[in-house]
Structure formats: C-alpha cells, structure tokens
C-alpha cells in the first residue's frame, strides 16, 4: 500500500512532464522506495492515479530489471558478470559471495538482510570487477575488499 506522501510525490512528479503517462517509471521507483519492492496493491493504486489499467502497468513494471516484484534484501548486491568484469575474476567473487552469505545467485538470506544477483555491464569496466549495493558502486574489487565491505554492512544491519 502506498503512503499518503508517496501518492502526493507521484502526483507532484506527474506535473513535470508534458505527457502525464511519463510518470509511470518515476511512480514505480517512488512506490518501491519504502519496502524495496512493489506488490499487487501498489500497482493497483498507481494505475488508479495514472488512469491506466492494472495489466498495462504490470507489463511496464515487469519489463524493467530495477523494478522488483518480490522482496529483496536490505542490502541488494548486484555483481557484474559481463566480459570485462569476468576477465578480471567476477565469477570468482560471485562464488565467494554465495559462500559467505550462504545463498545462491538470485536468492536472499533468511533474515532479509542480503540478496544477491548477477547483472550485466554496469558501465564502469575500467574499474572491474564491479558490483553495486543498493545504489552505490563498489569498484576494483578484491577478496579482501569484499570481506571488508560485507563486515561493515553486517555491522550496519545490527
């Protein structure tokens, strides 16, 4: 369910565009900013605000990788496994992460703190291997750096 503030934000944002339909992506972002993903109810409510059908908005939401339709961890880890990163050991880092977190690629820890996903090129290949945690880039990764990052996140989660 959307909060009153989220609904207001969506209506405000819609005014920025010559075509109000354009707000559908910003609206989906606003909706998932709370719990990290959107559910059926959120889509229904946004579709109502935008006066488009549920089915159409669902089609839009499902097209984009960054719109999550199931819960993700508090820290969502996206590891680039495209060419430049994999040439410099991305696959190995992904395996390390799976081991350390005790989950497989595509999964989330039972406590809901971490989720892990492999993704395509993040546009930072000179600093390979690269991953993103939520909206932050972590670059030139080594095993040591990875351990440090995970430790600090675990601390934050407590």
């Amino acid at each position: 369910m959307l909060s009153i503030k989220q609904k207001d934000d969506i209506r405000k944002k819609a005014k920025e565009f010559p075509g109000h339909r354009s707000v559908s992506l910003p609206a989906l972002y606003i909706a998932q900013s709370g719990k990290g993903y959107i559910d059926r109810k959120d889509i229904e409510e946004i579709a109502g605000i935008l006066s488009i059908s549920y089915a159409e908005l669902y089609g839009i939401a499902s097209f984009y990788n960054l719109i999550h339709r199931k819960p993700i961890g508090k820290f969502h880890i996206q590891v680039c496994t495209n060419i430049s990163c994999s040439l410099l050991g991305a696959e190995h880092l992904l395996t390390r992460l799976e081991k350390k977190l005790g989950i497989r690629e595509g999964g989330a820890t039972a406590d809901g703190i971490f989720s892990l996903e492999s993704v395509e090129c993040l546009g930072s290949c000179d600093k390979a291997p690269v991953m993103m945690i939520n909206e932050k880039f972590h670059e030139a990764l080594t095993e040591k750096k990875l351990s440090r990052i995970l430790a600090s996140l675990k601390e934050k989660a407590e």
């Binding site: 920025e16 565009f17 010559p18 075509g19 339909r21 354009s22 707000v23 559908s24 992506l25 910003p26 989906l28 972002y29 935008l50 089609g59 839009i60 097209f63 984009y64 990788n65 960054l66 719109i67 496994t81 495209n82 060419i83 430049s84 994999s86 040439l87 410099l88 993704v119 395509e120 090129c121 993040l122 546009g123 930072s124 290949c125 000179d126 600093k127 390979a128 993103m132 909206e135 932050k136 880039f137």
Partner: protein, 414 residues
C-alpha cells in the same frame, strides 16, 4: 603518446562538477556566442565541423538536426541519450559524473539550433548517483540564468528534465528510449517514421548521445575549422576511448579519431597484464565484431574500422589475452543479448535464445558436431531482419567469434 584533452579537460580539476569551476575554464562562453547567432548558423557550424554521432552509428549530427521540420506547430524535443548500456563502455558515465555542465551547455546549444525549448536526459537506472549530480548541476545552471526563461536575455527558453531508466539495455535504442520516456515498456518502434518526424509524444525529436552533445561547446567556441583539423578526413574531432579487459592501465582516454588501436593497447593502456600475448580485441563495445591479434593493426575511426569488417560503435575497447576463452566470451555475449532482447520480434527473440542454448551446450561439453554450422546459419540467415539493430548486435559478433576462432569451439565439441 600524449592525450588531446578537449572533452576531458576539466575532469581532473578539484570540484570539477561545480558551475564556477566550469565557468573558470571558459564554460558557457560558447552558449553566449551561439545565442548571438541564428539557429541555422549553428547547424551550419556543426555541419562544417564534420561532427559524427558518438552513440554508435556515426551519423552526421547536422544532417540529423536538419530532418527536424522548420516552423512546425508542435514542440521540438531534445533528448540526451545517457543510457550507456553497451558492455565495455563507460565514457558518458565519466563525463556526466565529473563535468555535468559540459553536457548541459551542449544541450543548450543543440536545443537552440533545433528550436527546442525542452530537453531530457535519459539516464540508465543504475546511475542514480550521477542523476543526482546532474539534477544539482541543472539547479545551479537555472539559478545562474543559463537555463529557464529568456536565457542570458536572448529570448531563448530552454529547460532540462532528468529521467531515470530502470535497467534495460534496449532502452538505449532511440525509439525504445522514447517509449520508455513516455512511461511505457521499452520496445523499439518500427521506423519510419523516424524520431525527427514523430518522436516523443508524437513531436519532432532529436536524440543524441551524451558525448556528441559534449563536443558542441568546443566546436562553437573554437570554430568548426579547428574541430575539423583534428582527426582524419571524414572522421573529425577527438573521441573518448574506453579501454578495459586484460590491460595494465584500463581507463577512458581521449585521442583524435584515427589513433592506431595497437598504440592504445600497448602505449596508452600499458600493454597486457602479466606480459601475456594479445589474442583479440573487441574494438567498439560488445556488439562490434572481434578483431584477432593479426587484424588489430587498424586505425580507430568510423571508416577504417568499417573497412576492417567491424565498427567503432561506442569505442569500448575490450582487450583479450591468450588466456581468454573465446567460447566462454561468445556464450556471455549470447546470454547478454538473449536477456536484453525485448521479445517483440521473432528473429531477435528466437535467434538470441537459440544461440544461447547452442553455445551453452558447447561450453558444457555436450555440443554436437553440427552445432558450429547451426550457429553460423542462425547468424547469417537472421542478419538484418529484426525490428531494431539489437538482433544484429548479437548475430554479427557471435558469427565473428566462431568464424575467427573456430578451433576453440571445435576443441570443446570433440
């Protein structure tokens, strides 16, 4: 080899993203100069400079602008394509993060030239922090009177809106981008009509790559002859080369078009890690056909690479050493395009999916003797028939991986 820094001249300055830093380096002088001329004069200036689009296809910028109908009653929109999804490419990332005002000034000049009053920056969703940097720079520029109404008292109105994509490679294709910016699924449109005739909200629209727009302040300030004197005939100006993969000093470097590829690899990027031997280079991002080490003695410009059977693309140079497994890279390529195909047209959806299956089973050791022929057949028979160029972006490089390195594939099948 010395870099020629025109686009990158500010990025190493302290607080390079601030308006005052940009202005102290001569920023917004070009805008002032442009506004003192007629829009058509600016189009003419850009035509004389020979500027070709940096988004992949190398289409002349002034020719694209001239497709915009004159005196039409509809608004004209200008879109900066900041989707930067082509694997191996990270130049627009650096330009926008370090020098956002360069893009803003470039958009102002382009907007003025094509009679637009509204620009959009469509930025890939993963660049959330860069989107914020752009928002801040736009606010600064608005405050200082470079954006908004009656800019520098010239009567010209222009503003910019930042629109964040949400994780989709195909949205870099200009009509998919427009669909996405209209709030829909990012599925490419059938062309024609081209965006210049009917683009965003059905209005005439210009879509240019970030780097293309970033060239404009220099062209206007220093004059088109100066720009045209850099590079080689038909391929003018400097270009940002993104070098990644197995080199000692990966990075984004600026050189005149026509710089030799081997100089980029060995002099600029410090040669190959561990002094290994060069196996191959992908010269222009993952969608461009690979060059084997033997073919790598080429110049890096649109025409030279086309003559070598490949493309400059987005100038994402991916360097592969003797250690790299071409079948593995071909498989990753197939997976990428199969994941990112929008699914709308059959040749692209089915072709990329089938290539992924075949390459997967070869890679896992269960390939059949006929699989190599099957791959080549898919790549050749589906070439040029998908709705947008995404299909070819998979078929061409995969065909070349298999053709040029078939021994490595055969070894996995036997």
């Amino acid at each position: 080899m010395e870099e020629l820094k025109i686009l990158l001249k500010n990025i190493h300055k302290d607080e390079s993203k601030k308006l005052e830093t940009y202005i102290s380096g001569g920023g917004y002088e070009a805008l002032q100069k442009a506004l003192s001329k007629k829009p058509d004069d600016i189009v003419e200036t850009v035509k004389k400079s020979g500027l070709r689009g940096r988004g992949g296809a190398g289409f002349p910028a002034a020719v694209k602008w001239n497709f915009i109908p004159r005196d039409c009653s509809q608004p004209v929109y200008l879109i900066a394509n900041a989707d930067e999804g082509e694997p191996g490419t990270f130049k627009d990332h650096i330009l926008m993060e370090k020098d956002p005002h360069l893009l803003i000034e470039g958009m102002l000049i382009a907007g003025y030239a094509v009679h637009s009053f509204q620009g959009f920056i469509y930025i890939r969703g993963e660049f959330a922090e860069i989107a914020q940097i752009l928002e801040q720079a736009i606010a600064e520029a608005r405050q200082a009177g470079y954006l908004g109404k009656n800019i520098l008292k010239s009567g010209f109105n222009f503003d910019i809106n930042v629109y964040r994509g949400a994780g989709s490679y195909v949205c870099g294709e200009e009509t998919a981008l427009i669909e996405s910016l209209e709030g829909k699924r990012g599925q490419p449109r059938l062309k024609p009509p081209y965006p210049a005739a009917s683009g965003l909200y059905g209005s005439p629209t210009v879509v240019n790559n970030v780097e293309t727009l970033a060239c404009l302040p220099f062209i206007v300030r220093e004059g088109p002859e100066r720009f045209a004197s850099i590079g080689i005939p038909g391929n003018t100006g400097t270009k940002l080369f993104c070098i990644s993969g197995e080199v000692n000093k990966p990075g984004c470097y600026e050189f005149p078009l026509g710089v030799p590829l081997l100089n980029l690899v060995y002099d600029v990027a410090g040669g190959i890690r561990g002094d290994r031997k060069l196996k191959a280079v992908i010269p222009g991002g993952l969608s461009t056909p690979v060059l084997s080490a033997r073919e790598a003695d080429v110049l890096m410009d649109f025409d030279s690479l086309a003559a070598a059977g490949t493309m400059l693309g987005s100038a994402g140079v991916i360097v592969l050493s003797e250690n790299a497994s071409i079948p593995e890279i071909a498989l990753r390529t197939a997976r990428f395009y199969a994941n990112e195909s929008c699914g709308q047209c059959t040749p692209c959806r089915e072709g990329t999916g089938k290539l992924r299956l075949l390459l997967e089973r070869i890679f896992l050791g269960s390939g059949e003797a006929d699989d190599i022929r099957r791959i080549m057949k898919i790549c050749t028979s589906l070439k040029g028939i998908s709705l947008c160029p995404l299909g070819d972006a998979a078929f061409l490089p995969i065909f070349n991986f298999v053709e040029k390195f078939h021994g490595e594939f055969e070894a996995l099948i036997r």
